[in-house]
Structures are given as C-alpha cells and as structure tokens.
C-alpha cells in the first residue's frame, strides 16, 4: 500500500510516495506548468513509474503547495506550512524552527515543544528572500549556475553588502559592484547575506525566537554557503535537511497515511 504526497509549488512540483511503514519509496520533481492539475498528475505518474507501481496501489493522496486545490486526484489538501512542519518533524523530531526558502516564497515556522506549529511567517508578494532572488541576481548577472553558487560563496573573503531588499534595486547595486571589478565571490556572498537577513527579519517580525534545532529546507538549502551564512547571523547551528525540496511532499504523504488510518478506524 502506498501513500502519496504531491506538492504543487509555484516553481516546481514534487511527489513523494511512502509505504505503510512511513518509508520513502520514491521522490520525483518537475517544473510546474501553467496547468497545476496536469503538473500534479505528471509528477505523480513519474514517481509511480519509477517505483513500478500504479495508481490503484495508492490508498490516499494529499496535495499541498499553492496549486494544492487544483489537483483533482487528491482526497485532501493541506497548506504547505503544515506539510513542511509534518515532514520535517518526521525526520528531525525535536525540530523547533524551520527555515524554508523555495523558488518564489520563503517561510519561517516555529514549532512548539509539543510538536505543533506555534507561529509562522511567509513572505508576501515579493521575490526578495526567495530562490528567485538568487536566480535573477547570481545566475543572470554573475553567470554562475545555481549548483556552483555554494562553492563561490564559501570562497568569499569580504562579502559585499547588498543594501537593497528589492530584487530590482539589488540588481542595480550588483551591476555597479561588477563594473567596479569587485570579486564575484564577494558579490555572491553578499546576496546570500541579503537573503538570510531578510528571512531572519521576517521571522523576528513574527516574534519567532529561532530556537534550536533549526532546520533549513527548500531548494536554496542545497546551498551550503547559505546555511553557513544563517549560522553566522543567528549565532546558532543551522542544519540543511537532506533532500530539502521534498519535505513538504513528504509531510503531505504522512498526512495521507494519517487520513487513511482515521477513515479505516
């Protein structure tokens, strides 16, 4: 028996299949298309094919992410804040803070001692502090691929402060620094600091205390350099979760199992 969690995000769609022992059997992700239902179907089918199963073996599907309500096959949908919390807690049971930076949004989630979500903050209508910020500024302006960014950031000797919070204005600053011949690694690290400060401010505005353990998830968590920057700014240990893009989908799959077991009783 399988349980499926489908996370239809604004940039990528992810699917996690788990078995009745909560073990992850498969994870797949694709770029989200304009039709979110179709994207959910596509990534679900990919995951099923990879594990050699078919849809009839799925006992319950739960969707999450911005496109969650569009996915017709889901028996239930849950908001991604809850899905992230559930997925992260299953991997790191004593987690107290989750920092999630996705393609177009970012979240800070505080988990209470009893494991429930006590506070959360999300960015709102702004690309600053998201993976998009990185894409625009580093990939386009610095000519650096996302998977090279971490090494570049770690090489920085003197990170340049990018003062603008706005992606558009930050772009002008970076162009100005490049024209002055500033080292690319220092500029890249500066964008990392800019994102991290923004996220921390976002959390503090919501009175999130950043209690430890702090777990970092979302696509940007693949970047070790950013993890180190968070540690430096918070003065606390920050751990990037393994397979950081799958956490919400995993949480949704766990919820699928919970919903099925509730009905079964």
């Amino acid at each position: 028996m399988l349980f499926a969690g489908v996370d239809i995000g604004s940039t990528t769609s992810k699917c996690v299949l788990i078995d009745e022992n909560k073990e992850e059997k498969m994870y797949r992700h694709i770029m989200t298309g304009f039709n979110r239902d179709a994207s959910g179907n596509e990534v679900l089918e990919m995951a099923l094919k990879a594990v050699g199963a078919n849809e009839s073996e799925i006992a319950c599907i739960v969707s999450t992410g911005y496109g969650r309500k569009a996915f017709k096959k889901a028996q239930k949908d849950i908001p991604e804040i809850i899905a992230h919390a559930e997925g992260t807690k299953a991997i790191v049971p004593d987690v107290r803070t989750i920092i999630d930076i996705g393609g177009q949004d970012s979240k800070v989630i505080a988990i209470a001692e009893d494991g429930t979500v006590s506070k959360f903050e999300m960015n709102d209508k702004c690309a600053a502090g998201t993976g998009r910020f990185f894409e625009v500024l580093t990939h386009r302006l610095l000519g650096v691929e996302m998977d090279e960014l971490s090494d570049l950031i770690m090489k920085a000797k003197d990170p340049i402060e990018i003062s603008s919070m706005c992606t558009i204005f930050a772009e002008s600053e970076i162009i100005s620094h490049l024209s002055q011949g500033k080292p690319v690694e220092d500029i890249a690290a500066g964008t990392g600091y800019s994102i991290a400060r923004r996220i921390i401010q976002q959390g503090k505005a919501g009175r999130i205390p950043f209690d430890e353990p702090i777990i970092f998830s979302g696509g940007v968590a693949n970047n070790e350099g950013i993890t180190k920057i968070f540690e430096k700014l918070l003065g606390k240990k920050v751990t990037a979760i393994s397979n950081p893009q799958s956490t919400a989908a995993y949480g949704a799959a766990l919820r699928a199992m919970r919903e099925y077991n509730k009905q079964d009783k």
Partner: protein
C-alpha cells in the same frame, strides 16, 4: 423563519436603503452621513434627518482611486470613503447634506480634508485620544454639540428629545439582542458564526429599527436551541482589529471554509458597541458621549488603552474558550501595528496562538493564494493543538 431566510430578507431591506434615502431626499428630508459610532445618529434623526453609515470597503479599486490626491500610506478603509465617490460608485454622498466624520486618527483626518476639497460639506467631530482626561471628554462633548447645531441648521428643526429617547431605546434593544446572540456563540458548537453576525451588524445600520428588532428577536428564538453550524472540533477564534467594513467579508469566509469558527470579536469600527446601553434619563447627548468615550473598552487610538484592551481580549478568550486570536489589520494602519507588537509580546508565552493578517483589500487570484495558505495554516495548527 430559518436563519438564511431572515438574513436574505434583511439583506434585501439593507440594499433598498439607498433608494429609500433617494425618495426621502426628494420629499425634502436631508440626508446626513456619518463615519462611525462616536456619532449619535439617533440624535441626528431626531432632528429630522435621515442617516447613513459610511463604512464601505473590501474592494481594491476605491482606495487606489484617491492616489491622485494623496500618498498611499493611509489605510484602505479610510481611502475607500472618498474612493467610492471618486469612482462614481457612491450613491449616497452626492445627495448628502453633510458628512459627519469622527476624527479618531490621521487617516480619517486626511480623507475628511480630501472630501472637503471635493466640495462635500464635512463636519469634523473631534475624538481626542487621551480619554482619561476630563478636558478630552469635554472637547468631545463640545464637538458633538457643535455638530448638532449644524444638523439643526440643515434640517431647520430642533432635536425632538422624546423621539431621540425612543431612538436610543431601540438602539439599546438592538444591542441587547446582539449581546444575546453573542451568548449563543459561547456554546461548544455555536449555532451562528461571525459571517452572519457581521452581516447583521451591518444590516442594523440600514434597516428600520423596528424591523431589525423583530428579526433579531425571531433569529434569537430560532437559534436558542438550534444545533451547531460547525464541525465539533472546529478551532475557536477571536478576531481583533480596526474593522470589517461593509463588503469586506473575504477573510471571515475563508476562516469558516478552512474549518474554523470566529466566536468573538474586538473591533473598533463598523459595528455597534454593545457592551453597555446608552442611559435614557438626563442629557441624552452627554449620556451618549459617556457611553462611547468612557463606558466601554477603548478603541486602539485612545491612550492609555492597550493594556485595557488586552485585558478584554483575555476575558473574551476565557469566556468564549478561544483557541487562537486573529489580528486583522488594514495596510498602513501604523497604530494598530504598534498595538500588535505589544499584544504579540504579551501573548508570546500564552497557550493561545496569535496570527496577524494585513489587508489592503487586494483579493486578486495571486493574493488569494498566500492569504488562503495563511488562514488554512493557522486553522490547521489550532486543530493540531486542540
């Protein structure tokens, strides 16, 4: 008569108010608009005018319509006051003889000036924030007296004291019925939700008082033994903030769709203050002023107030068995933002979750995604904690 039928009937009567006012105007009765509950509409009516509460919001275009005249850093409800007029969507103000604007803060103040610039006859009633000082109360009373003088000049009639007393009796009765309906919301599974309550509150400003009393009484009798409307384990939410204006119903709807129930509220505008009745013996204007300015939980702008308001919130949390508090704030409402900072600090060690939602009345498809996620996440986290 079922709750839905009563609400539909009241909705229809409320929508007919603009036509009624048009007819009254044609027959020579002046129309006087007012912006909030610091203005004694009972006295204005007893002086021979028809009244209308100017408290429409919930749409993004009216706030933007005033940006030719001012920066956007005013809350969208205040901007809507002039914005609907600017867009030609306000049927009342063009036929009003005067708009009485309670000057509670700079947002209303700036919009009052814009309306004056637009040629609207504005009467500003000062509501000083330092409410514990005698001189502040005297100023407010004096401001009301001057306003009433202007009303009497417009209508050509003095206030009929006996009629005013009758109007206040009816308003008191309406408030009593709202208090009784609120008691029903203390039940484990309330038979009525905030969506209905806020609509009823808004109808009560437009519908004839006798009809309103009849319908609220019917509704209360209908609901007293009625089953609950919500899921048995629905998280119980208190909503606090400035206002849900007429037309601003998206957020309460989303809360209920997400499986939550709003069981109590602490709002400063757009609702009748129902804590205490206006005293009917003696000077009605002074009695009214006391009721609004002194004898109730102060509004956000009144200082000192926030610790008193927090005590009220704690009382509501206890009485209504609240699981979570939703702070509903309008964009650029800096004083509410400051109060939220204090509230979140005071509540940080509390078992009751707190979430802030800020609205600029932007409910486009793009904005609805994050808004729905926030509300659903809040409700889900409350469910998990139950």
């Amino acid at each position: 008569m079922a709750m839905k039928e009563i609400l539909d009937e009241l909705d229809s009567l409320s929508r007919a108010r603009a036509r009624e006012l048009g007819k009254a105007k044609q027959e020579g009765t002046p129309i006087i608009e007012y912006t909030g509950y610091f203005i004694p509409e009972e006295l204005i009516r007893a002086a021979g005018a028809e009244t209308y509460l100017m408290c429409r919001g919930g749409e993004p275009e009216p706030p933007d319509a005033v940006l030719d005249y001012m920066l956007r850093f005013m809350n969208p409800l205040a901007r809507s006051m002039a914005g609907f007029l600017e867009l030609g969507l306000d049927p009342i103000t063009p036929m009003s003889s005067m708009v009485v604007a309670q000057q509670t803060d700079n947002h209303v103040g700036r919009i009052s000036e814009l309306l004056e610039f637009k040629g609207i006859n504005i009467c500003k009633v000062g509501v000083p924030p330092d409410w514990t000082k005698d001189i502040a109360f005297e100023y407010y009373v004096e401001s009301l007296k001057k306003m009433m003088q202007r009303v009497e000049e417009i209508t050509g009639k003095k206030v009929d004291e006996a009629l005013a007393k009758t109007y206040f009796e009816k308003s008191n009765k309406i408030c009593e019925l709202f208090r009784k309906l609120n008691e029903l919301r203390m039940k484990d599974n309330p038979p009525i939700g905030f969506n209905e309550i806020i609509h009823l509150q808004h109808y009560s400003f437009n519908v004839d008082a006798d009809i309103m009393i009849e319908k609220l009484t019917q509704l209360y009798e209908e609901l007293i033994d009625a089953p609950g409307e919500f899921d048995a384990d629905a998280p119980r939410i208190l909503v606090a903030g400035r206002a849900f204006a007429m037309g601003d119903y998206i957020v309460p709807g989303l809360v209920e769709q997400s499986g939550g129930v709003i069981v109590a509220e602490l709002l400063d505008e757009g609702v009748r203050p129902i804590e205490k009745d206006v005293a009917l013996e003696g000077d009605l204007l002074v009695n009214f002023a006391k009721n609004r300015y002194l004898d109730k939980t102060p509004i956000n702008i009144q200082q000192p107030a926030w610790d008193i308001r927090y005590d009220k919130i704690k009382e509501l949390i206890k009485d209504y068995k609240v699981d979570g508090v939703l702070w509903y704030q309008l964009a650029f409402d800096e004083i509410y933002d400051m109060e939220y900072t204090c509230l979140s600090n005071w509540m940080k060690d509390s078992d009751t979750l707190l979430m802030k939602l800020e609205s600029s009345y932007e409910y486009s498809r793009e904005a609805m995604g994050p808004l729905t996620t926030r509300i659903e996440s809040f409700v889900e986290s409350l469910k998990e904690g139950k």
